[in-house]
């Protein structure tokens, strides 16, 4: 039996969370260091796993143990190119968030150590979600991630945190419970054909009736659409992101919401290929609406964090569009987009958090001329903003380009309209930058604003490096994603449309 690498990656943060809770309440510093230590070790471990991962070779990390025989549930973990990218993102963002929110938990309802412990617990569960290859295990972990996130929002956020936390929880539960109905339906279908099994590999072989497959797929799709979030199921996100601490928002938008798009790719397409193909027109339409509606609302926001939340809704629209365009370029682009969006939104939320913690207000109107007193802060903010609007040379550009190009090869009209979202992105980012950073100083308190400290620069540095690095050389990540995407394409049974190159007279 191989060494259970994935289980260790999953358990390590969980052990860390317990260890942090065992540190006495008074020594918050020690607790935070312990937490950071565990997060860094987890990252190293995940990095080792990622380096050892061969995208097109045999799977060295698969684990499979029967868990609940009567349910056909397995404790089964495994990696594919899509999962590993998101696991790396999770392991990367967690230590970044810990460093960036080193002091953010002070105003919370509970001790600082519990904030750090919840974050580690969330990391463990998220890694599990991305590594699970059993629908039951996935569902259990998917729902379990709600608990740490609920307490992170409700315990450490702004004035309306309780409201935001409950709204988040109820929306997610609504999606999750409808998915539960589908999960149960899968069992029934599976049990009719033989010994029940929840392994994705077994479920993909199932022969479901057309209507059954469609209904079951809708349960999953609804849960993921709430999670992602897509318009019209998105209203919980701006509230949650605005009330939570910036670190929590990073985890929420950067990791947790990715479960939605990840789930569409792995579960909707992987287990219900025909039904997913049937649903494409509606999903694409909703994705397009998300792209434009999210961007338009972002322009109109007066609160920095709400604005960033709406930009994410727009970005998630792109990701979903790329997935449901059903082209290998679109899907690869979407997966890459998930990773890059994690980086750029994390950078944006974190820098916005630095700004807000200095001035104590999230209202855009309270700022002005910050670049005069805090040039590094303003500079990183501009950088994060430009990466969010997909400036060429930065990593999000590549993924956005791939998504639009991949969509264009099958659905020209949709791709053309979606490009408007890119233009709107420039508007919402640059207008925000202009209002916050340029112009005269709004008041005296702003004039005394300190620039970024060492810790704050340290937290943001890896994100900036990666955004630039992957902007010029995305090949390593793309190479990992590609085989997994091709496998998904085969499962759905679609091939890329033939390019329509006009044949000129001369060549004939």
């Amino acid at each position: 039996m191989n060494f259970p690498w994935l289980t260790v990656c999953l358990l390590l943060p969980l052990v860390g969370a317990l260890a942090v809770m065992l540190v006495p309440k008074a020594s918050a510093r020690t607790a935070k260091r312990v937490a950071l230590g565990f997060a860094v070790v987890t990252f190293v471990l995940v990095a080792i796993v990622a380096i050892g991962f061969k995208a097109d070779g045999p799977e060295p990390y698969a684990e499979d143990h029967t868990w609940i025989a009567a349910f056909g549930a397995h404790y089964a973990l495994g990696l594919d190119g899509i999962g590993i990218v998101l696991i790396v993102l999770t392991a990367l963002l967690t230590p970044v968030v810990l460093v960036a929110s080193w002091h953010d938990a002070r105003g919370g309802r509970w001790s600082e150590r519990s904030f750090f412990a919840w974050i580690l617990a969330l990391e463990a569960l998220s890694i599990g979600v991305f590594a699970a290859v059993d629908v039951f295990l996935f569902y259990v972990l998917f729902e379990a991630t709600l608990i740490p996130m609920y307490f992170l929002i409700g315990g450490f956020g702004g004035a309306q945190r309780s409201y935001a936390a409950v709204k988040f929880l109820l929306y997610s539960l609504l999606g999750g419970l409808l998915m539960l109905a589908s999960v149960i339906g899968l069992y029934v279908v599976s049990a009719q054909e033989g010994p029940p099994s929840y392994l994705i590999s077994d479920l993909a072989q199932l022969d479901m009736g057309t209507n059954t497959e469609r209904w079951l797929m809708l349960g999953f799709l609804f849960a993921f659409a709430v999670k992602a979030p897509m318009v019209p199921f998105h209203t919980w996100l701006p509230d949650a992101a605005a009330e939570a601490t910036p670190g929590t928002s990073v985890l929420l938008v950067g990791i947790l919401d990715k479960i939605g798009t990840f789930g569409m790719l792995r579960y909707c397409l992987g287990v219900f290929p025909n039904a997913s193909e049937w649903a494409t027109p509606v999903v694409l339409a909703l994705a397009l609406v998300s792209v434009l509606y999210g961007a338009l609302l972002a322009i109109g926001q007066t609160d920095i964090k709400r604005l960033i939340a709406y930009t994410s809704i727009s970005h998630f629209g792109f990701i979903v569009m790329g997935i449901y365009a059903l082209t290998s370029q679109g899907m690869t682009g979407s997966t890459l987009y998930m990773f890059n969006h994690g980086l750029s939104t994390a950078a944006l939320f974190i820098v916005a958090g630095y700004l807000i913690s200095r001035h104590g207000s999230a209202r855009i109107a309270d700022y002005g001329g910050v670049e005069k007193v805090a040039p590094v802060l303003a500079g990183t903010f501009l950088f994060a903003g430009l990466s969010s609007l997909s400036l060429p040379g930065l990593s999000p550009f590549i993924s956005e380009f791939m998504v639009v190009a991949g969509t264009f090869s099958r659905h020209k009209e949709i791709a053309v309209i979606a490009v408007l979202g890119v233009v709107l992105a420039a508007l919402y980012i640059l207008i925000m930058y202009q209002r916050l950073m340029t112009g005269p100083l709004e008041n005296d308190r702003l004039a005394r604003m300190p620039d970024l400290r060492f810790r704050e620069r340290l937290a943001i540095a890896p994100l900036i490096l990666l955004i630039i690095g992957l902007g010029f050389y995305p090949k390593p990540v793309v190479d990992v994603i590609k085989p997994a995407v091709e496998a998904t394409m085969t499962q759905v049974g679609v091939t890329d449309p033939e390019p329509e190159i006009p044949v000129t007279e001369g060549e004939r």
Partner: protein
């Protein structure tokens, strides 16, 4: 005259399978012995002797049950009156385990200044001089122990009753002690007596319905035995109005005990007024016995008439889930909220029951309805008793502080207790990694396997509504500042500690590794006739 004088030679003694019926007999004998203890032992000795007697009898009965689960022989005992089959033994074991915890809770004295939760002198007028005297003298009603044992025995008999008369007798044997126990609260006695009165009156009504149903069924089929009814029904021709009416009336009586809507009206009042340990006992054990009885009657006797009764149960299941979860939202008292939650749980259980995923309806693969119902009852029972045990610990000068406004900020005052209660609530809400999730999964799966998938959809939507009010309590406990004169958290004695820890342990274990209990429930198989 000669007809009355049966010659002795013609008389054959009924064959009683003492070995198989031992658990039942042990509990009843201990109950009778408990009455004698009340009569002959001096007052100071009664409490320890009664407690020891109850614990020993329950443990021994449990041990015997486990032993008889081991060997495969299942039989109809006592001349066809009692069926000792897989489900019966499983229910017995569950009942005995949960009753043991309940008896411990009944015996708890340390949370209320050295006195139990029961009235010192139930006959004294509330607020009177006699009552104060009794309290000062530390008088106790140790009769509660034999009463409880009678109730437990009745429940066990109810779950195994193989003919309608035994069913009715068992129903009365376990109901009458419960009516009494409900009225025996030490604190808030008027509320307690009111609850006993309501429970008794409505319970008597429902017994009458049940009896009427039995009469009609007997009139239609000419037999009382469940197997006999099943055999007689296919040969009947002509109008079946009497059968339908009889089934309906029987269902009313049984659904009343299950506290299914629209026969649930007693539940919130009885649960709120009864002493909290009794509430926990009723919520867990009565529901288990009632479901076992309901399933036995309808699967064994009316299994072939499924299409006649299942529409009715469909409606009841939907109503029960919806009313239970929606009305719970507006509750301001912890015990009433848990009462409505228990109604909603009855609804979830009914989905599996009405799905009837079993051999008789052609389902051969996957989860069966009996397995689902049995597993759910175990998971629900432990969590419920644990939750009510926590309720006994949150107190103020007037006894238990059950109003939700008194629970505000409990998480600050006692993080451990609030955390445990939150965990039970998450289990009730069906959050994964708790027993609530696995049990919900299993009942919905059974329902869907039996073809009742619309009920599953209604069920998950009601779960969402239910989740809302459970989360509301968590918000109250953790996200709100405690008021100045908030409640105190009493230091639990060993009895309550054991009850809470067992409830917690079962909720965790059944949530993470439910396999063994599920297999046990699957091995229980189906009812025999």
């Amino acid at each position: 005259m000669s007809a009355l004088l049966v010659p002795l030679a013609d008389f054959t003694a009924p064959k009683i399978e003492y070995g198989e019926l031992a658990p039942l007999l042990i509990v009843f004998i201990a109950a009778c012995a408990g009455v004698l203890v009340e009569a002959f032992l001096p007052r100071p000795l009664r409490y320890p002797v009664q407690l020891a007697l109850s614990i020993v009898s329950l443990v021994v009965a449990g041990g015997v049950t486990v032993l008889s689960m081991w060997d495969k022989d299942r039989l109809i005992a006592a001349e066809g009156a009692i069926a000792v089959d897989g489900p019966a033994l499983f229910v017995w074991m569950t009942l005995l385990g949960l009753s043991l915890i309940s008896v411990l809770m009944f015996a708890e004295r340390s949370v209320d200044g050295g006195l139990s939760a029961f009235a010192g002198q139930a006959a004294a007028v509330p607020g009177s001089e006699a009552e104060r005297e009794a309290t000062a003298l530390r008088v106790e009603h140790t009769e509660i122990f034999p009463l409880t044992l009678f109730a437990i025995g009745g429940m066990m008999l109810f779950a195994a009753a193989n003919d309608l008369l035994t069913l009715f007798v068992a129903l009365e044997v376990f109901s009458l002690p419960l009516y009494l126990l409900c009225g025996l609260s030490r604190r808030r006695r008027l509320l307690s007596q009111e609850s006993a009165m309501k429970y008794f009156l409505l319970g008597a009504f429902s017994s009458a319905f049940l009896l009427y149903g039995i009469a009609l069924i007997y009139g239609y089929t000419g037999t009382m035995s469940l197997g006999g009814i099943a055999d007689a029904l296919p040969n009947k021709i002509g109008s079946n109005a009497m059968l339908l009416a009889g089934m309906g009336l029987l269902a009313v009586g049984l659904l009343f005990k299950v506290s299914a809507v629209p026969f649930h009206a007693w539940t919130p009042d009885a649960y709120q007024g009864a002493p909290t340990p009794v509430t926990g006992f009723m919520a867990a054990c009565t529901k288990i016995a009632a479901f076992a009885g309901l399933a036995r009657v309808f699967y064994v006797a009316f299994g072939g008439e499924r299409w006649d009764w299942s529409p009715m149960i469909w409606v009841v299941a939907i109503l029960t889930m919806a009313v239970g979860s929606i009305v719970a939202i507006t509750q301001t008292d912890v015990k009433r909220m848990l009462a409505y939650s228990s109604i909603a749980h009855a609804g979830f259980l009914l989905t599996a029951f009405v799905g009837a995923a079993q051999l008789g309806s052609g389902v051969t693969r996957g989860v069966t309805s009996m397995q689902a119902v049995l597993f759910y009852l175990v998971a629900y029972g432990f969590a419920t008793i644990g939750a009510f045990a926590v309720v006994t610990l949150v107190r103020d000068a007037g006894g238990e502080a059950t109003h939700l406004s008194r629970w505000v900020g409990l998480g600050k005052k006692s993080p451990l207790l609030a955390g445990i209660f939150a965990f039970f609530l998450l289990a009730f809400a069906g959050i994964p990694l708790t027993s609530g999730f696995t049990s919900k999964w299993v009942v919905f799966t059974a329902a869907w396997t039996g073809g009742a998938w619309p009920l599953v959809v209604v069920g998950v939507l009601c779960s969402l509504v239910a989740a809302f009010f459970y989360v509301r309590v968590i918000v109250l406990m953790f996200f709100s500042e405690p008021s100045a004169e908030g409640p105190d958290v009493a230091l639990p004695g060993w009895q309550t500690t054991v009850a809470v820890s067992l409830g917690l342990a079962a909720t965790v274990v059944l949530g993470i590794i439910p396999g063994p209990v599920l297999d046990l429930a699957a091995r229980a198989g189906e009812f025999i006739r």
